[in-house]
């Protein structure tokens, strides 16, 4: 019965999340737009699917993947694992190499499973007439999150100020914006915000807090934050970079084709 109890508690959470949204939609539809909604039964079924789907999704994550992932974050940051015993008086940032690998892998894997990102990628694919690939976009975003989480772990371990990384990141994003294809810019900015929701946040937060509470000289209250910020900034760069690479590749191919034609 424990299972059922959990499911209903997750259903409650999801409903609480949906209720204000539904209230806003219904109010504006009834009192401002005052038009009949096309295909209402199908729409309501869709909403039902979303609510039950999210509840099952959360239930499964909490049952299987979150406990193991959170425990893993704790064990990997434990001095007993990293230094085969007690922590030495001073540690070098490179002693934590498993953390960087884990941060990279878990950042990539949770982002690929993020439902909000799936939604945005599908919409982008539809409106671009297939020019923006669903999987290509999602993998580009996931690479950005992976690099971001690794670098964020490095920042917690070295204790360097968060704002310098973020400001440097902003400069890179703005420089990329100047040269990237116009079509991708808005979507790239959006991909920063969608990466961190249901799957990524709990695992990454556990990693940050575990790291900040075991690295000598760090405190979880002061240094445990910032991973989410990294995970929302780096996908912007990776998506812009992906588009720049794709454009460069296509240009190169067309230049080559031109040359071949001229040679004939």
């Amino acid at each position: 019965m424990n299972w059922l109890e959990h499911f209903f508690s997750d259903l409650g959470t999801t409903l609480r999340d949906v209720l204000p949204i539904a209230a806003v939609l219904v109010f504006f539809q009834l009192f401002v737009l005052r038009r009949r909604v096309a295909n209402l039964p199908r729409l309501l079924t869709g909403f039902g699917f979303v609510i039950i789907g999210m509840a099952l999704f959360l239930q499964g994550l909490e049952q299987a993947l979150f406990p193991l992932g959170k425990l893993m974050a704790q064990q990997l940051t434990d001095p007993g694992f990293l230094f085969a015993g007690a922590a030495p008086a001073s540690t070098h940032w490179s002693d934590y190499y498993w953390i960087y690998v884990f941060g990279f892998a878990i950042g990539f894997a949770t982002t690929v499973a993020e439902p909000a990102l799936i939604a945005v990628a599908r919409k982008a694919n539809q409106v671009s007439g297939g020019a923006i690939g669903v999987l290509g976009l999602r993998y580009a975003v996931a690479m950005g999150v992976a690099v971001g989480i690794s670098l964020g772990c490095f920042r917690i371990i070295t204790g360097t100020p968060l704002q310098w990384y973020i400001i440097a990141g902003y400069v890179v994003v703005l420089l990329q914006t100047l040269t990237a294809p116009k079509m991708i810019v808005a979507l790239a900015y959006d991909s920063g915000g969608v990466t961190t929701s249901t799957v990524t946040v709990p695992l990454v937060t556990a990693l940050g807090l575990g790291l900040a509470s075991t690295v000598p000289g760090r405190s979880p209250v002061m240094d445990g934050f910032g991973l989410i910020a990294f995970a929302s900034l780096f996908p912007i760069m990776s998506v812009l970079g992906y588009a720049q690479l794709a454009e460069w590749w296509i240009n190169r191919k067309s230049v080559k084709a031109q040359e071949n034609e001229n040679a004939l």
Partner: protein
């Protein structure tokens, strides 16, 4: 109010169905034919989850060298996640995308800018204020503020700090969606507004109390929930495709970007005001 939105009549973007999630090889098995949609969706969801299973399995078995605890619970959990994701994706195409786009078209046809901006604001505010991730972050922020001596460490003071923070983020996301909608209608280039936002974040970083900076930066990422994102995206794309002269790709996206940028500025401002 006069018509201030140049409505472009036309068709909605057709939702792409399950075909793109179906491997070609499986399409050739005749026995599976009646079950295409279901099989395709479940397979697609499982493929999305595979990386997490591989990563956690690898670190547990090869790096930490420990057995997998409670294999039965693990397998049923993965099955539930797969099923949940499948239903969610299906519901997305049936419910969230169509309502977002149909309301966007409705507002564009009506042509009343005030109500459209009010809708954007209400959607942003309403979805953020009840967001569980934000409630958790606000609680953490109150703890940090109490530890840092910015507020007195009493439960009453803490909950008032957390509530104020939630209200601040809710208002900032509401304002962000309304501004983003205005941008789509006017056709302003997104990078100018984002540049202004980045300058705002950097400027505030120099004045905000150091304790709040980490939380402020993180707050940008947690405000947009899994249900808000598809709805807001459909709203933006629907608007851009119903207004003459706008391109759904270059103009339709960008609402989420604003919604994750403004909270950073407003949370730092809140931290400054509360410490005065």
């Amino acid at each position: 109010m006069t018509k201030r939105i140049d409505f472009k009549p036309g068709k909605n973007h057709p939702g792409s169905w399950h075909n793109d999630r179906m491997p070609q090889r499986l399409k050739n098995i005749p026995l599976l034919k009646p079950f295409y949609p279901v099989v395709a969706l479940v397979l697609g969801s499982f493929r999305d989850l595979l990386p997490i299973i591989v990563v956690i399995g690898f670190f547990q078995l090869a790096v930490l060298k420990q057995p997998l605890p409670d294999l039965y619970g693990l397998l049923t959990g993965v099955a539930l996640v797969t099923l949940g994701l499948t239903l969610f994706v299906q519901g997305l195409e049936m419910g969230l995308f169509p309502i977002g786009e149909s309301m966007a078209r409705g507002f564009a046809r009506k042509g009343n800018l005030f109500w459209l901006l009010a809708f954007g604001f209400a959607l942003g505010f309403g979805t953020t204020i009840a967001e569980p991730a934000l409630i958790a972050v606000a609680g953490e922020a109150a703890k940090v503020a109490a530890t840092g001596g910015m507020i007195t460490d009493t439960p009453v003071e803490r909950s008032s700090y957390a509530w104020g923070l939630r209200l601040t983020v809710g208002l900032s996301v509401g304002a962000a969606i309304a501004l983003g909608v205005l941008r789509i209608i006017r056709g302003w280039p997104i990078q100018h507004l984002i540049l202004a936002g980045y300058l705002g974040v950097i400027l505030m970083t120099f004045f905000a109390p150091p304790e709040i900076i980490g939380i402020a930066y993180d707050s940008g990422g947690v405000t947009t929930s899994t249900i808000t994102v598809p709805l807001v995206t459909a709203l933006g794309v629907g608007l851009a495709s119903s207004i003459r002269g706008r391109n759904p790709v270059t103009d339709g996206f960008g609402l989420i970007a604003f919604a994750s940028l403004t909270p950073m500025i407003f949370v730092m401002a809140y931290g400054m005001i509360r410490t005065l």
